[in-house]
């Protein structure tokens, strides 16, 4: 199962335009880690020792005439492990460092990234960014930049996170336990896979407006996937679970429950018929069901979409854009959630942002450039995959709030429709058309769940579907995923309680 909610068409365009180059680079550019955790801390830490060098860079940029200069330093350490059947078949460690330097002049910006963190390398990158805006370093000039304040260090209690993570031996054992449980609980399983990924990242952000922050992030995810086959019948089912800031995550993972859930779904879907196409009401389950809000509305509330003129909601602040049953939130503060972060990638502390209150649009998701270009106040949502991307306004933990109903009441209210128990990926395009795949679906007949169906893709227009979310249940839950868009692939959660959509187009056969 893929948990990639690829948002907005620009990622596809960018990826496609560099298709051939990327294909070549992907053969080499794997990510990062070293299996001996202790090695990581032998690297130079990104901390206040960098202050003099950063101040020099910021002063140079301001002297050259830049309105604002921002330096983002990053150190990463990554490990991924794959188990197939009863064998560890791939261990992929990688590590690296880099910097992204962004210079603003008016509403324009120039951005340069580099792997070279030497004085000369950073100076060269700054000069390149300045030159993009027609600016030159003026060694004799005087800067209005008064230096950085004391470091806001969000990483003080996180220094040992990496060493507290499971050793490779332990991670491998947990994965193999998972694939063995799949064998125990599944039938007709042709392929059993378990995968683990651990992303550690240390960042230091400094800007000429006095921003100076440091953080350490730790994301871990574990997934189980199966391919079940019986003659011509096939079903592939997967689940992935992810947390942030919890080194013990893998140790606490309930492999048995996960394996049972995957095997039950695979068994059910193995003989499922393809769904009949049509327009019908639908109930979307909690957790991954939240992909509908992520694609149909969340992306369209990012200020990058306002800048491009690609959201129908740009002039709808304090107006109704959804059914009054809908209250939606984007936040970065839920403990352990995949999209949580202490500070964003522009050094701003994370916060809780109410996007929609009882159907009325209350706020947009904004970053530094978004505030500059659209006037919407920053929300601590400037995010990027790595130093190679400029930050952009992006979602964090995004969900529809709990309502008053039980899931059964939602289903009982439908005479004929579709129950979407598990969702796949989705996307939204520049005109607001969204889509997402249903991995596991059931017909609803006369208020009750009927036979399982597969092959459904739900499509619609954002501004049409939001008023049709007419009922929300009480059972809000979040689910981890990855979102790809203008500033790369980032960790997010989607979420919602069970919701009812009065009418939606179900693509099928």
């Amino acid at each position: 199962m893929r948990f990639a909610w690829i948002g907005a068409v620009h990622l596809h365009i960018y990826a496609y335009s560099l298709h051939n180059q990327r294909k070549l680079q992907e053969k080499w550019l794997v990510s990062t880690y070293t299996p001996d955790q202790s090695l990581v801390h032998k690297a130079e830490a990104l901390n206040s020792h960098w202050q003099p060098q950063l101040e020099l860079l910021l002063a140079r940029g301001r002297t050259a005439g830049a309105d604002l200069v921002e330096v983002y330093l990053e150190q990463i350490d990554h490990l991924s492990v794959l188990a197939e059947q009863d064998t560890i078949t791939s261990v992929t460690p990688s590590f690296g460092r880099g910097a992204g330097i962004r210079v603003f002049l008016g509403k324009q910006d120039g951005f340069v990234s580099t792997n070279d963190l030497s004085d000369a390398g950073l100076k060269h990158a700054l000069e390149q960014a300045l030159s993009m805006l027609g600016l030159e370093v003026n060694e004799a000039g005087r800067s209005s930049f008064n230096g950085l304040p004391n470091l806001r260090d969000f990483a003080i209690d996180k220094a040992h996170w990496l060493n507290q993570c499971p050793e490779l031996y332990e991670a491998s054992d947990r994965l193999l336990n998972g694939t063995q449980l799949l064998d125990q609980y599944g039938t007709h399983l042709q392929v059993r896979r378990g995968s683990y990924a651990r992303d550690w990242q240390e960042v230091l952000v400094a800007a000429s407006d006095g921003t100076f922050g440091r953080d350490i992030r730790l994301h871990q995810s574990i997934g189980l996937n199966v391919l079940a086959t019986d003659g011509e019948h096939r079903s592939s089912i997967g689940r992935r679970y992810g947390t942030s800031g919890r080194p013990d995550d893998l140790r606490k993972w309930d492999a048995e429950t996960s394996a049972k859930e995957v095997c039950e779904s695979a068994g059910t879907m193995l003989y499922a018929d393809y769904v009949d196409a049509g327009q019908m009401p639908a109930v979307l389950a909690n957790r991954f069901g939240g992909v509908i809000f992520h694609e149909a509305c969340g992306h369209l509330l990012e200020t990058t979409q306002i800048e491009r003129g690609t959201t129908p909601f740009s002039d709808k602040l304090n107006q109704s854009i959804a059914h009054e049953a809908v209250t939606a939130i984007d936040e970065g503060i839920t403990d352990g959630a995949f999209g949580s972060l202490s500070m964003d990638d522009e050094g701003m502390e994370s916060q809780r942002t109410v996007l929609i209150k009882n159907g009325v649009l209350k706020q947009f998701i904004s970053d530094r450039a978004g505030e500059l270009r659209t006037g919407h106040q920053r929300t601590g949502s400037g995010r990027r995959q790595s130093h190679t991307f400029a930050a952009a306004s992006r979602m964090r933990n995004t969900y529809i709030a709990a309502g008053q109903h039980s899931p059964e009441q939602l289903i009982a209210s439908i005479d004929r429709g579709l129950y979407c128990k598990s969702m796949g990926g989705g996307s939204v395009g520049p005109t607001g058309q969204f889509n997402f795949a249903v991995e596991e679906g059931y017909l609803i007949e006369k208020g009750k769940l009927g036979k399982p169906v597969k092959g459904a893709t739900l499509i619609g227009e954002a501004k049409d579907v939001m008023p049709r979310i007419s009922m929300c249940a009480k059972d809000l839950e979040l689910a981890a995923g990855f979102c790809g868009s203008i500033s790369g692939n980032i960790f997010v959660t989607v979420g919602q309680p069970h919701i009812k959509v009065d009418s939606i187009t179900v693509g099928g056969r």
């Binding site: 990639a4 951005f111 392929v191 800048e307 520049p430 597969k454 893709t457 499509i459």
Partner: protein, 462 residues
């Protein structure tokens, strides 16, 4: 005075230094077998918004992947962007530690072809124009596209970029591969809206060896034509239709199911094919498919893969019959064939296609050559582009259910489809092809004619 990121500024890999450093470190660590893949790139790009520069980007990237065989013959890797001696040392030691977890049942080896002669590729390096010139070009292109129709109000997604990059493969057995390329890209995606109607969009992409060589006018024309052609739209009734895929759409679809031809996927049990599928008919007799990473129109062509194996043109399907799989060194050994030049680099080596060529089988044709997208009088759906392939394709099951852009064509009249999905099974589809037009069209992702398929399920949005 603007300084510019020119190709001349591109960082370069010092191959001999890399080899010397790694040899010394490996010798010190008693590592007798190793190989290395390295890459670096320098690129710059611009985006604009209504005549003004919006964002300009530049990047220098470098990375290496080190792979070692330990004293038990097991393999481990580590990658890093730190090309300093310290970084390389750390990567080498990390790879050896990872090799403790190497899979004894599937140990990669050096490609037997890693020192064979490479095919000649004519891909001269082109000079970069620089940020300021790219900005001017893109501003002109935006203005031109905006002027094509009053409904075209913005070009929300646009970009012009140029890059130089270098790749190296070397191993402890003396293999050394190296290549340098330049590449440029332009994309223009317009958004159009008429009063009382839904917004519509369309776009185009061009690739070239350098930004001087980009077909900018062609990109503008295509983006305008596509956008304007979708302004007058209608919903489509749900049902079964005769469908014609544009070359771009068909290549996207076949690419999404490339695990059918992938030996790694076959060995892993996640392909629709098995070992014994070779030699069997999986498509109509007039359908043929090659993977040709050497095609002259393939801008990003490389003469070797991640294991140093030479790139080649490989016949996958001939006359509807499956002829070959794509291979790495390890999968080729498992199948008793030679590597085909489609490998990555890893402890478990990935395999992937380069550049597909879809064609009519020589000497074969369908009984429906009258089906031509530009003049047929039949009722059919012309699919211009498929969306959300990452979500709507179940490669291991063979099924797809995908949103698309396209037109309903009735008696030669095209009407844009408001919103719809197309669904089916790839195996059924390959046997339901009723015609492949004669003209081969070069796209950024491969070569294909328009492909006609009967009986596909289309769901329209009410």
């Amino acid at each position: 005075m603007m300084s510019e990121i020119k190709a001349a500024n591109a960082i370069e890999l010092d191959t001999h230094s890399l080899r010397d450093k790694l040899s010394q470190l490996a010798s010190r660590e008693s590592i007798h077998q190793w190989d290395l893949g390295a890459a670096c790139s320098t690129d710059s790009s611009v985006q604009i918004d209504r005549g003004e520069a919006k964002q300009m980007k530049g990047a220098q990237r470098s990375s290496i992947t080190v792979r070692v065989w330990n004293n038990k013959g097991l393999v481990g890797i580590t990658s890093t962007s730190d090309l300093s001696e310290k970084g390389i040392e750390k990567a080498l030691i990390g790879a050896r530690q990872a090799s403790d977890f190497g899979n004894a049942d599937d140990v990669p080896a050096f490609s037997t072809l890693a020192k064979s002669p490479l095919p000649k590729l004519e891909r001269p390096l082109r000079p970069a124009q620089g940020i300021q010139r790219m900005l001017e070009v893109l501003k002109e292109a935006e203005a031109d596209l905006l002027s094509r129709h009053p409904a075209i109000q913005s070009i929300p997604y646009n970009g012009l970029g140029e890059a130089t990059y270098e790749r190296v493969y070397l191993n402890s057995d003396g293999a050394l591969r190296q290549m340098k390329r330049s590449q440029a890209s332009l994309y223009l995606f317009a958004r159009a809206e008429e009063s009382g109607r839904k917004p519509r969009s369309g776009g185009a992409i061009r690739l070239a060896l350098g930004s001087h060589d980009l077909d900018i006018d062609g990109c503008i024309d295509e983006a305008a034509e596509r956008t304007i052609s979708h302004l007058d739209y209608q919903p489509i009734d749900t049902g079964c239709y005769l469908v014609c895929f544009t070359p771009e759409a068909f290549l996207d679809l076949i690419g999404a199911f490339s695990s059918m031809f992938n030996a790694r996927a076959v060995l892993d049990g996640v392909s629709l094919s098995q070992r014994e599928t070779i030699g069997k008919n999986i498509a109509v007799p007039f359908f043929s498919l090659h993977d040709n990473g050497l095609h002259p129109a393939h801008v990003g062509a490389s003469s070797f893969d991640g294991e140093g194996t030479p790139t080649q043109k490989l016949c996958l399907i001939n006359g509807g019959r499956l002829e070959s799989f794509l291979h790495s060194e390890a999968t080729a050994r498992a199948f008793g064939v030679t590597p085909t030049g489609h490998a990555g680099l890893g402890a478990k080596v990935s395999v992937g296609p380069d550049w597909f060529e879809v064609s009519n089988t020589e000497g074969q044709s369908s009984a429906n050559t009258h089906l031509q997208h530009s003049r047929s009088k039949e009722t059919f759906v012309l699919i211009e582009g498929l969306n959300a392939l990452h979500a709507g394709v179940k490669a291991s099951q063979g099924s797809f259910s995908l949103p698309f852009n396209g037109w309903l064509v009735i008696k030669g009249e095209r009407v844009s489809i408001e919103a719809a999905t197309v669904a089916g099974d790839i195996r059924t589809l390959l046997n339901s092809i009723v015609n492949m037009e004669a003209e081969q069209v070069i796209t950024p992702g491969g070569v294909s004619p328009h492909v006609w398929v009967e009986g596909l399920s289309i769901t329209g949005e009410a």
